[in-house]
Amino acid sequence: MERPLTHNIKPRAEPLWLAEYEKAGGYESVRKALRTMTPEEVQKLVTESTLRGRGGAGFPTGKKWSFVPMGADAPRPKYLVVNADEMEPGTFKDRLLLEGDPHQMIESMIVSAYAIQADVGYIFLRMEYGIAAARLRKAIKEARAKGYLGRNLLGSDFSFEIYLHTSAGRYICGEETALLNALEGKRAIPRAKPPFPQVVGLWGKPTIVQNVETLCNIPHIITHGVEWYRRLSRGKDGGTKIYGVSGNVKRPGAWELPMGTSIRELLEEHAGGMKDGFAFRGLLPGGASTAMLVEEHLDLPMDFESIPQGGSRMGTGTMIVLDDHTCPVGFAQNLEHFFAQESCGWCTPCWEGLSWTERILQSLEDGQGRMDEIDVLTMHTKLLAPGRTFCALAPGAMDPLQSLLKYCRADFERHIHEKRCPWRDEPNGADGARTWPVSSSMIVPTR
């Protein structure tokens, strides 16, 4: 099984630095693209590869690039921004790529920038990713010294520079337009679309914002071609995907696997199934902001087309597993606490709606829940829909809540009838392990 994105990555080892990276075939795509292809040809290749964004929305990458104004009268400078904010709870795939193979990131940026003729690239990095920051800095320095960055790369008339920006640490900074505001030194609130960043982006100029993992696919597409790339996948969308599993499973982790690998395979083969004494109740397939799937969905392939059949989204492809030792209401409370706290404060349904839902969930946990407030929760899951809030944070926050209300309604009601959290006072795990609430380091990134 080919693992183009991670084949250089060895657990707990230093990444390949420039010389070794080049020896392993690194920067080949830069040579190929700059010397033998026009930007339009690179774009065409990416479109044909059927690569879709790995940041959560799954938007076709080639199509996104096609909106960038090209040609001599296109506004300059144009920007390529790597979204390395990765604050989605349960998601740690970009970290793997950044820490494990920083030069791959640089190479990916150069060829992608070439395709859209971007002049400057930014890596917008999650605040807590200190190791990645150090490694990227070193890689950028090496690349610059070797002439992969700077003026007239490889003697072509293409010039490109990369800057690393470490975030101040807000989840909303991962939303691509809030990211741009943050990068400009403004409040990190999203922008209205249209106009799209491809046309009016960073500092008012055409900008592509792309997830780390998405970009890391590009060099391989260029070097090995579309056919090869599409064959990596088991589904309609090309390539591999870095899947992750966290929760009370035997071997939590992340693996690069063919796109379209089934949930069951991920859960049972790669993650080794549930820990002994823990029973599976459900999972959030693609990070905290995706709706819960249950037993009946386990055979769905993890790809952008299939997961929606279960009423959820592929998201980041990194799943969080809910077990029977964990209170679903506490699980919801923890998630909503995160989202309420991370609301940027711009639009009313989100800044107050999320806070209200969190407080209702907390009162359920405290044994002070009220039946009519279940309706208030339900109301929020309906009202905070896409298009009604300013960005996707709030609808994303409602997805897990809505599904938990659907699949675990009885648990919510038990909290009200018993006037307490049944999990809190009565540990029912075989080994007595009390895992309520979901450990905060897992859901809420530690600061």
Binding site: R170, I172, R187, R191, A192, P194, P195, V199, V200, W203, G204, K205, A340, Q341, E342, S343, C344, G345, W346, C347, T348, P349, W351, E352, G353, L354, S355, W356, R359, S363, D372, E373, V376, M379, L383, A385, G387, R388, T389, F390
Partner: protein
């Protein structure tokens, strides 16, 4: 136009608008918060949701924010859709979750957009049962209160303060439902337009602090349309009174003039009306060294009548640029044009009349504030707008957004889409060249600034004009710096579509004013329709220039020569107009000095007779603003017993004297009589009566009430003083009534006493008064522009470019440094202003200071008009070498400036 369908009915709307604006213009009650007609849309509050349908077949539809959706042809929406209604009610429910619900004791209550919108959405029942978030409030200085718990996070305040007005010391802090709108620390809000927060904030977070010491419910205010008295722009205001004191000023929308905003001087400078130093009774001073004693009105008239009758040719009348046209005209009629002085020095009167002459001659028409906002390239010659014409500075900031709009338009971004517009324009500002003696923060968006002495500024103007049209005279010995700057300015102005030249009297330089005219004319001549905008010193400076009269020096010499000995001074403090020595001599020589004024001042201290004049709030009258627009202000409340309009006093004096010269005058009973006489007497005022409806005007036979229909206490407010309910005072001068009874609908625009419509109790009821939201008022009467220069084509350039400024070895040219807070005579006397008025300061170039061995903060001695003064020194590299700028506050007047003075460092003990 676009055809849209709202709840299955077709309507025609302007396709350049968004759906919210279009729906409001159609008269629908669609609630909103974050959108503001002048600030545009950002889609934050989500209050304006409507259901949009893709086509006729689409029955399901989807919610969209009306303010973020273009009113494109064929758009189908529903406001009444149950899902949309539920969503809108929910938005209020969310906002209300943390809101204090203290409407009954909230300062904003009864005038609150949040209250109105809450009622509009029908949200009534509180489900949120948790603790509310609370904030600590800040002391934001003397003008604005802060009560953050009331905030609904609509972001209007930051958008106004930072994006629109360029303020820096205010921001949104924090996130989620805990966003804090305030300063980084307690302290006075620095921006000169902070007062607009009071009206822009839809709840009671920001309120008028000057209202608080005499707080009254806003529906209990008696209000009248007024015109700001504190600079030459003539912003429209609504002034409100209760129990005989003036309590607050609100913006009165005028599409051409001030739009939605006022400056803080205009909003908070009203306190002088209630001042302890008001002249409230007639007084006479039996002996020149003694005190004044109050005297009965009839008695003083009986005493003065014969005096005026006996020797009409021995009287000199001194008018005033801060008095109404009618009062000045009455004085002129009483004493005769030959004996009427403008109350201004030859120099100052001359500057005003040059401006008048330029605007009349054309071809460049005078620009309204609205025109200024639309200008796409601006040259400012000699003015520090933020201090001399504040509202204009705000307009210039908007003009700088015009050129970047090309990019915005090209990207297909609608102009109302504020956030996107700002992103696309991204920190680009259109051309703005500021050439002035010194700088203020407002220059932050300038393309280029040039600081020089007035003569050099004028020279720049001449050279720019010459660059544009070789036929325009240039200046001699042009140095390369000015030469190349002039080329750049000329190139930009020449390419603009709506270039504008702003200048005025601040430099006290004819040449500066003339050079500005040359630039505008050169543009016009070469086919670019440029406009001109001059700032004058006071609220009626231009009106007075139109009236015409003698200078103060002439008046002084008439008295000195013994050709007159009785002086009647109208609303004027001569010590602000002339040097103290000439003032002293004049007042001493005159055998009788009669002064009509509102406040005690240095001149009233020398008067033999004082007559109490009404302020703008106690009288009606007309002012002509800087563009030549005559605008009417109305009496807000019945004046105290003896106080009356100056023109009425003069009429009374005429009657008392049985004045033979002006038999007509004695028949003047109403303001309309004076206006009629004036419009017949002097051709330029022939259309004056059109500025406002006459007293006889009625709406369905009724007068227009000054009091709201919710006004309380009519029968009881005077109960502690009087047993019976007094009869409402009659208003003989206007169609307004001192009453809550009368016509409740919408009157013609000059008569709007307050904004109210069913369901709309806040200032945002204004929407209902506009023919199209954000556009002109219904039944608009924008006043009359008395001078128009359209169609004139011939250009006669001014030819006298001054020589380059030469610094002297031992003297500095002291220039006036005007202050938004402190320079204007009347607002400086408002108690709320005290904290904002800077102390006297001299601003000097650091290198000049070095040669003098000055350090900042040390004091200097300077000689002005034979008097020596000591003031602290401030260093600023923008001040041209060889000059120094002196704050025009407290006793300092610009009458004697610019002037040369030595600077001597005061050795501090």
């Amino acid at each position: 136009m676009a055809g849209i369908i709202v709840d299955d009915r077709p309507y025609q709307v302007d396709e350049r608008e968004n759906l919210l604006q279009a729906c409001l213009s159609l008269g629908f009650n669609l609630p909103y918060f974050c959108w503001h007609p002048a600030l545009g849309s950002v889609g934050a509050c989500r209050q304006c949701a409507v259901k949009q349908f893709r086509n006729e077949q689409d029955r399901q539809g989807h919610l969209v924010m009306a303010c973020m959706t273009p009113a494109a042809d064929g758009t189908r929406i529903s406001i009444e859709d149950p899902e949309a209604k539920t969503f809108r009610a929910s938005v209020i429910e969310w906002m209300m979750a943390n809101h204090p619900h203290d409407c009954p004791v909230c300062d904003e209550g009864g005038e609150c957009h949040l209250q109105d919108m809450t009622v509009m959405t029908g949200h009534a029942y509180r489900r949120f049962r948790f603790n509310k978030r609370t904030f600590r409030n800040q002391d934001l200085g003397p003008f604005i209160t802060h009560e953050m718990n009331r905030c609904i996070q609509c972001y209007r305040c930051v958008r106004l303060y930072r994006d629109y007005a360029g303020g820096r010391d205010f921001d949104a802090f924090g996130s989620r439902n805990h966003v804090y709108f305030g300063r980084h620390e307690d302290g006075t809000l620095e921006n000169e337009f902070s007062g607009n927060l009071v009206e822009v904030c839809p709840t009671g977070v920001f309120d008028d602090k000057t209202l608080m010491p005499h707080y009254t419910r806003k529906w209990d205010l008696q209000t009248a349309p007024s015109v700001c008295a504190h600079c030459s722009l003539g912003c429209n205001t609504i002034a409100g009174e209760r129990y005989g004191t003036l309590r607050r000023i609100l913006n009165r929308y005028h599409n051409e003039v001030n739009g939605y905003f006022l400056c803080d001087r205009g909003r908070f400078g009203y306190g002088f009306v209630n001042s302890e130093e008001r002249i409230r009774r007639p007084k006479s001073r039996p002996s020149r060294d003694g005190q004044t004693i109050p005297i009965d009105k009839d008695m003083i008239l009986r005493e003065l009548g014969p005096l005026l009758a006996d020797k009409p040719s021995r009287i000199i009348g001194i008018g005033s640029p801060r008095a109404s046209l009618e009062s000045n005209f009455a004085l002129r009629e009483l004493v005769g044009p030959e004996r009427f002085s403008l109350g201004l020095s030859v120099r100052d009167a001359g500057l005003n009349s040059i401006i008048l002459d330029i605007l009349r001659r054309g071809p460049a028409p005078s620009a309204s504030i609205h025109d200024v906002e639309q200008a796409d390239a601006v040259l400012i010659l000699g003015e520090d707008l933020i201090n001399t014409a504040p509202r204009l500075a705000l307009a210039v900031r908007q003009s700088a957004r015009q050129q970047p709009m090309e990019i915005v338009d090209k990207l297909g971004i609608p102009r109302w889409h504020d956030a996107a517009v700002r992103e696309a324009a991204h920190a680009r500002f259109g051309p703005l060249f500021i050439a002035a003696p010194y700088s203020s923060w407002f220059a932050d968006i300038a393309t280029e600034t040039y600081h020089a002495a007035p003569d050099d500024l004028a020279r720049l103007g001449f050279v720019v004009a010459h660059e544009l049209d070789q036929a325009a005279p240039t200046a001699s010995t042009v140095n390369p710096t000015i030469g190349s700057l002039a080329k750049r300015i000329a190139a930009v102005l020449g390419q603009a579509e709506r270039p504008l030249v702003i200048s005025g009297t601040a430099c006290k330089s004819e040449a500066v004013i003339q050079s500005a005219a040359n630039v505008a004319w050169a543009l016009c001549k070469t086919g670019t329709p440029a406009k001109l905008c001059y700032c004058l010193p006071e609220s009626n400076s231009l009106g007075l220039a139109m009236l015409g009269g003698k200078s103060l020096e002439e008046a002084f010499s008439i008295v000195k020569n013994g050709a007159a000995d009785t002086v009647l001074i109208l609303e004027n403090d001569l010590y602000r107009r002339a040097d103290a020595l000439s003032g002293d001599a004049f007042l001493k020589t005159a055998s009788k000095v009669i002064i009509l004024d509102t406040l005690e001042h240095d001149t009233t201290a020398k008067a033999d007779v004082l007559l109490p004049a009404g302020t703008f709030a106690e009288s009606d009258g007309t002012l002509v603003n800087n563009e030549g627009r005559a605008q009417r202000f109305y009496q807000v409340f019945p004046a105290e017993a003896d106080i009356q309009e100056s023109w009425r006093w003069i009429r009374d004096l005429a009657v008392a004297s049985g004045h033979p010269a002006q038999p007509n005058m004695t028949a003047w009973n109403t303001l309309d009589d004076v206006v009629l006489a004036l419009s017949e007497a002097i051709p330029v005022f022939r259309r004056l009566a059109e500025a406002a409806p006459p007293e006889k005007f009625r709406m369905i036979g009724q007068k227009i009430p000054r009091q709201t229909h919710r006004f309380t206490g009519r029968t009881s407010m005077h109960a502690p003083l009087l047993m019976h309910e007094p009869k409402p005072v009659k208003d003989p001068d206007s169609p307004l009534a001192f009453s809550m009874e009368g016509y409740l609908g919408q009157p013609p625009s000059p008569l709007i006493t307050h904004y109210w419509a069913p369901g709309w109790n806040s200032v945002q009821a204004l929407n209902k008064f506009q023919s199209e939201v954000g556009g002109p008022l219904r039944q608009e009467n924008p006043g009359v522009r008395l001078i128009e220069s359209f169609g004139k084509r011939t250009v006669t350039y001014f030819t006298d470019a001054p020589k380059p400024f030469q610094a002297l070895d031992h003297g500095w040219l002291i220039l006036p440094w005007y202050q938004i807070f402190g320079t204007d005579e009347l607002s400086a006397r408002a108690s709320a202003m005290a904290e904002r008025i800077p102390g006297p300061t001299l601003m000097l170039h650091p290198e000049d200071a070095a040669t003098l061995r000055f350090k900042a903060g040390e004091r200097t001695e300077l000689m002005l008009g034979n008097r020596s003064h000591r003031v602290p020194v401030k260093l600023d590299a923008a001040v041209p070498r060889g000059t120094a700028a002196l704050t025009i506050v407290s006793d300092f007047t610009d009458a004697v400036l610019p002037a040369w003075s030595p600077l001597i460092r005061v050795a501090e003990p």
